[in-house]
Amino acid sequence: MKAGGLGLAAAPALAACGRGFGGGGDDDSGDGVTLNMVWWGDATRAEKTQAALDLFKERHEGVEIEVEYQDSGPYQDKLATRFAAGDPPDLMAMRMDSLREYADRDALLDLNEYAGDLDLSGLSDNAATIAEVGDRVYGVPAGLNTVGFVIRTDFAEQYGVPIPDGDTWGWDDLAAFAKAITDASGGEVYGTGFEAQTLANILVFTRQRGEDFFTEDDRLGVTAATVQAWFELVNGMRDEGGFPPAGFFENIGGSADQSYVAQGKIASQIIPTNNFLGYNEACGGTLVLLRMPGETQGARRGQSIDCPHLWSVASASKHPEEALQLLDFLLNDAEASLATGTTRGVPANADVAEEIKPSLEPDDQAATDFLIALQGEDLPRSLLYPPGGSAVFDFLDALAVEVEFGRVSPADAAAQFIEQAEGAIAG
């Protein structure tokens, strides 16, 4: 009984003794190659992905693909365990914030060395080098997305509050809009609501102030003043009533149907653009997609082109050629993208994105146009998290809640955050 906690910690060591956890690549008989591909997502994504894989198998006889998918939370742990056990998958979904944890430890294939097998010429420079470390590339975007603001037009109409111009609005406009909705609804509906601790949100704000959250030389770039201003921005809206009170956001699950905006408790929120279709369906088609506030007022642009996740190949893969063949197919083949749709964002290959656009649902087309328009503009590039960067989220999360409940002032929280985050990155 007492050993329970220990068994947990030591499980990877046991697995390293030779007992794998399933996983593929053991079957080398004849032409038969079995690729093991892992990713996270829901049943819809699974169905769409499988459709693309079936197409691939039709064209490449003798290649079997063993797919494993699960929820995003446990995915991280499982992937780490697979690597520790010496049984990494061939092709895998990789989070932007953990790429360096694997890449810096030589666990991933440098795709530049396989330029002949994987064609990256259809990608924008930003997309092709999004996972570049030094002169090596350890992943390609499974799709492109960014964050955007969705507003429920039905509430705006009902309460007679005009929707700001999404290309030019500022954070003040958001605050004014939010307050007006809350006031007009008598507190039934809060004007806006989002998590101050979500990195994607504060990243935009940080860039608008002329800083990078993490710098290119792996340091913390964000200043205490910016973190404080961010907390104060949210606190200000909360004090005015436009933003829900402390404790309002509970863990209700991540799906669009369960979201507060779909429940009609808030009138606007930030979403990843590839989820626009799902959110709009959940809101009965009443949503409009805006850019983030503050894009024209800040020191520079804040939005960047990101990806929901990367595809990476394990350096220990026994079948790197086949894995890259599959990756190339998913990336550059229009039929593959027709099958997968925009479940992982807009196809990274611009020609493919244009080619499949007419066949997409109107909401998906809107999200695609939104992203393509942004892609044509001069935006700061999305930088990778330094190793240890994923701990930074935990610090921000805890401190944002302390601020939310007024237990710590924004200034103190900002100072603590900088100290903790610098420690985690250096350590």
Partner: protein
């Protein structure tokens, strides 16, 4: 009455549960044929032990290394252990675990004993009640119940609706750092079923004649409880206390599920074991996590030893 027979034997050996099972030595004197049968019965345990012993010693080794899961472990001596003293989050997680243990274990044992005494009054349909009260402890640490708990204690949940009837303001039970741990303590207290069943079995062992004699002498109800029930039940209280302490120090699921793996809000439900898991599997600090695991073992051993030591002052073994 099948549940009763399943429970009774367990209640018969309360004072020395763990080490008696370990020492097969007592049987050594008997005939060889009997020995073989004994070992045969132990076989599943031996096989299971292999799966425990290997990771056990592997983690002991890893505790002295820098191991990131991807590269081979590097020996760094005591560095992991010294780093623990400088880790404010670890201190926070210890605090959470201690508060949780020292509040919820006494409360849940008191609830278990209270309900056991009520059920011991010879109620009709006892097995039904016993099962009903036992059920939560089968489910309490399960993901489904913690999720259910999230709704019961949600802003629009039943608890706030009840409070609303009395004019009390709604409380963010699960998302307010001042209340989140309290909510989990209530969940723990609610799962008093398994000590209750053991208490119930223990209560039935106390001869009725003691109570009759005391009643004849005019002893009050409280007096009978203090002078008969508590002393005669003390070995069973002791057993339940040890079991609950050890389990409580290792709490994981509640904190993991309540806030999607985070131990939030603001680390207020970051149990030690949850932080250990985050360090090992999310932050790639498996060496540090192993060191944490061994430290927890020492903490649990210390509290268990303390409880055993205190036993001679309050546990009554002679009939």
């Amino acid at each position: 009455m099948s549940t009763e027979t399943a429970v009774m034997p367990e209640a018969d050996v309360p004072p020395a549960p763990e080490h008696q099972r370990l020492s097969a030595g007592r049987r050594r004197g008997r005939r060889a044929r009997k020995d073989r049968a004994g070992y045969l019965f132990l076989l599943p345990w031996f096989i299971g032990m292999l799966f425990t012993v290997v990771p056990f010693f592997a983690s002991l080794y890893l505790a002295f290394t820098d191991y990131n899961l991807l590269n081979p472990p590097k020996w760094i001596g005591l560095e992991n252990f010294t780093a623990m003293f400088r880790d404010p989050v670890l201190v926070k997680s210890l605090k959470v675990t201690f508060v949780y243990t020292f509040v919820s274990v006494p409360l849940s044992l008191a609830a278990a004993l209270g309900v056991a005494m009520i059920l011991n009054k010879g109620i009709r349909a006892l097995p039904v009640y016993r099962a009903v009260f036992y059920l939560p402890s089968l489910l309490g640490a399960s993901v489904a119940v913690v999720l259910l708990w999230r709704y019961v204690f949600g802003l629009d949940g039943i608890v706030n609706a009840l409070l609303g009837w009395f004019g009390a303001p709604a409380i963010a039970w699960t998302s307010d750092p001042d209340y989140a741990l309290t909510t989990l303590i209530i969940l723990h207290v609610w799962t008093f079923g398994s000590p209750m069943v053991i208490f119930l079995a223990g209560l039935r062992q106390i001869p009725v004649m003691y109570y009759e004699a005391a009643a004849v002498d005019g002893a009050s109800r409280w007096r009978r409880f203090r002078s008969i029930t508590l002393p005669l039940l003390s070995p069973i209280i002791f057993f339940n206390l040890i079991q609950s302490l050890i389990a409580s120090f290792q709490t994981f699921t509640q904190g993991f599920v309540m806030n999607d793996g985070g131990g939030g809000p603001a680390n207020s439900t970051l149990f030690y074991n949850l932080y250990l898991y985050q360090q090992g599997f999310n932050q790639f600090h498996m060496g540090y996590a192993s060191a944490m695991a061994w430290t927890l073992l020492v903490i649990i051993a210390a509290f268990t030893a303390l409880t055993f030591f205190s036993a001679k002052y309050w546990v009554n073994y002679d009939n």
